[in-house]
């Protein structure tokens, strides 16, 4: 059993404390999306409402396109397990400006709290074995607060498995029109929208 540690909203607020004005965030579907929206509904958040397993690679493509900006992927253990191969893909490209934060409560929170494989599969050790050298688990708020400065520091790639408690937080649902989310994101980072 993992995830007896932190409140998820407090953890995300602490993790984003050093985001600054230029930090870009991509969220995996479900609770991490609600957590990011509850922390700050920034135009520089791109929320996935689908595409389970894809969050890390959306972050990778963005990080490669914009090496001048820190990119943080915030997702859950179930979503990361579905896209587990993307840790190999990320490690091989090794963008310095990418961090992947997995909120690990050991369960599929949106579907009835079924246990995930993250109690037997340690995602931080998986990420390290895939080649992301700066990978580890964070189990306490004290450690998280001390570590959060690395998440938007462009000195990665960074992988963190953040152990959170299983309790539900109030749902904070952001915009769900993906085209609007894309447009506001691109507008906010200054990509000129001439088409698409």
């Amino acid at each position: 059993m993992v995830g007896a540690a932190m409140d998820r909203r407090a953890a995300v607020a602490a993790a984003f404390r050093h985001r600054g004005a230029d930090g870009l965030v991509v969220t995996g579907l479900g609770s991490p999306t609600w957590d990011a929206a509850a922390t700050e509904d920034s135009a520089l958040n791109f929320y996935l409402w689908g595409g389970m397993g894809g969050a890390a690679c959306v972050g990778l493509g963005l990080a490669l396109a914009r090496p001048d900006r820190p990119v943080c992927v915030l997702t859950g253990d179930g979503e990361m397990l579905m896209g587990i191969g993307s840790l190999s893909t990320v490690a091989r490209k090794a963008p310095k400006n990418l961090s992947i934060l997995v909120l690990d409560n050991g369960h599929y929170g949106e579907t009835g709290m079924q246990p995930s494989a993250s109690d037997t599969t340690d995602l931080a050790r998986v990420a390290a074995a895939c080649g992301i050298a700066d990978s580890r688990s964070i189990a306490t708020m004290t450690d998280l607060e001390a570590d959060a400065g690395t998440y938007f520091a462009r000195n990665g790639p960074v992988f963190r498995r953040i152990l959170i408690a299983t309790g539900d937080a109030p749902r904070v649902l952001p915009e769900k029109d993906g085209v609007k989310l894309k447009a506001r994101f691109k507008d906010a980072i200054g990509v000129r929208i001439t088409h698409a």
Partner: protein, 176 residues
Amino acid sequence: MAASEGKGRRWHADALAALKRHGVRQVGYVPDAGLSGLIAFCEDDPDIDATVLTTEEEGVALLAGAWLGGDRGCLMMQSSGVGNIPNMLAMRESGGFPLVMIVTMRGEHAEFNPWQEPMGRMTQPLLEAAGLTVTRAAAEDAVGGLLDDAFTHAYGSSAGAAAVLISQELIGAKTW
């Protein structure tokens, strides 16, 4: 020696030229023998960032992220890989992300391996069900023009998606 030296067929060079004409900066691929020359060209090109994927799903996500940051992309795979990506193609549609795919076909022409036939049969209808415009190159000299059409569709006035299938007859059946 560059990886691409001495490799590649005419259509590989034509495809690379199309990628560069349309400003492609990121390429995601799962290797296929039929794509090998084009992959080598992309890996060697200083203006293209090529990413080898563990599964084709990653490539749809990669290029969505690339577009959020302003990069155009191209995704390359064998027809069997198309079976891995429908849920990501749904994500692509929901976010209005442009997408161009180059798909080398198996299971349709003098195919030695019958296990390739089901996905060969499903490739085009599956892509069309996911909202992609699908064209097929039966001859080498068609590839460049079909890619021009695909990029114009994807990155033109709407956030479109298009796949160019490279027929197995064009590639030549795999020899064992």
